[in-house]
């Protein structure tokens, strides 16, 4: 578990660098669209809710896992996965909408750093969802074995950690972007 925690800390540094890049470049619009023209805070609020709900449902999965209840654990994991997919769908909709309006990553330094930072977080959620499905298959085949419990605990840390990074994203990118 300590090894996985160290991996998360290295991931944290990757995000710190992307946040720094966004902080440095985020004001350079190259006469293109600014955050105010692009961001829809209602959408971001819904998105944040999805991720927050997925965090607590994963917590419930861990509690049912502790009690050794396989079916309930699987159910909570499935709910978590659905919230994850909802988050990703909303994010992809947002990206598609922005690209459709000509706000592509090539448009300005602001948009390059925006898509890199938010896209990297989205990729993490994508891989977390793939991992979640993998572990659900593992649990379905072998039950809540010692190895599977440890894997689920690692994914739990990964999932909650992504929620922590998202706090930084919605505050630093979206909310502060609207204040510019």
């Amino acid at each position: 578990m300590l090894g996985f925690w160290l991996y998360l800390m290295s991931d944290c540094l990757i995000f710190a660098m992307l946040f720094a890049a966004y902080g440095v470049l985020g004001g350079n619009y190259a006469a293109g669209p600014a955050p105010k023209d692009l961001f829809d805070l209602d959408l971001v609020a819904v998105n944040t809710t999805m991720l927050l709900l997925s965090s607590i449902t994963y917590g419930f999965a861990m509690l049912t896992m502790d009690k050794g209840r396989v079916a309930a654990t699987q159910a909570w994991l499935a709910v978590t996965g659905l919230f994850g997919l909802a988050f990703l769908s909303i994010e992809l909709y947002e990206f598609a909408h922005m690209i459709h309006e000509g706000a592509t990553p090539q448009r300005s330094a602001f948009l390059s750093s925006f898509f890199t930072l938010v896209g990297t977080h989205g990729l993490h959620v994508t891989f977390g969802t793939v991992w979640l499905v993998t572990l659900m298959t593992q649990v379905a085949r072998f039950g809540l074995t010692e190895a599977n419990r440890r894997r689920l605990m690692c994914l739990s840390m990964f999932w909650h950690f992504l929620d922590v990074v998202w706090i930084g994203v919605f505050t630093f990118v979206y909310l502060m972007g609207m204040l510019r």
């Binding site: 578990m1 300590l2 925690w5 160290l6 800390m9 944290c12 540094l13 710190a16 660098m17 946040f19 720094a20 890049a21 902080g23 440095v24 805070l41 971001v44 609020a45 944040t48 927050l52 965090s55 607590i56 917590g59 419930f60 861990m62 509690l63 896992m65 502790d66 009690k67 010692e146 419990r149 440890r150 605990m153 840390m157 909650h160 950690f161 929620d163 922590v164 706090i167 930084g168 919605f170 505050t171 630093f172 909310l175 502060m176 609207m178 204040l179």
Partner: protein, 125 residues
Amino acid sequence: MSAHDHAADHGHAHGGAAHGSFRGYLIGFVLSVILTAIPFWLVMSGAIDNKQATAIVIMAFAVVQIVVHMVFFLHMNTASEGGWSMLALIFTLILVVIVLTGSLWVMYHLNANMMPGLHDMREMP
């Protein structure tokens, strides 16, 4: 704290870190909802006239919420893994602060010093 029947055979796997309790998760969730709703409301309604003040307030909310997540969801404490996970976290936080403040500070001053050049560019047709 949750009952841990198998503490003896897999306690070493996570150094005695608890998985939390229903109550703990619920407290963390409710606090997170409040700590998310207020900054969104502040920005969407423009309750504080001063933009810089709003920015500082929402950043403070973010920091508090990150701590809430660390404690209630990631179960961070000084005891887990014999203190090594906390040590790794503190080390990472120091690096994060250096990376963020360093980059922003240096690039802000670079931009400020480049301003005359930028100004000339804008006057060009």
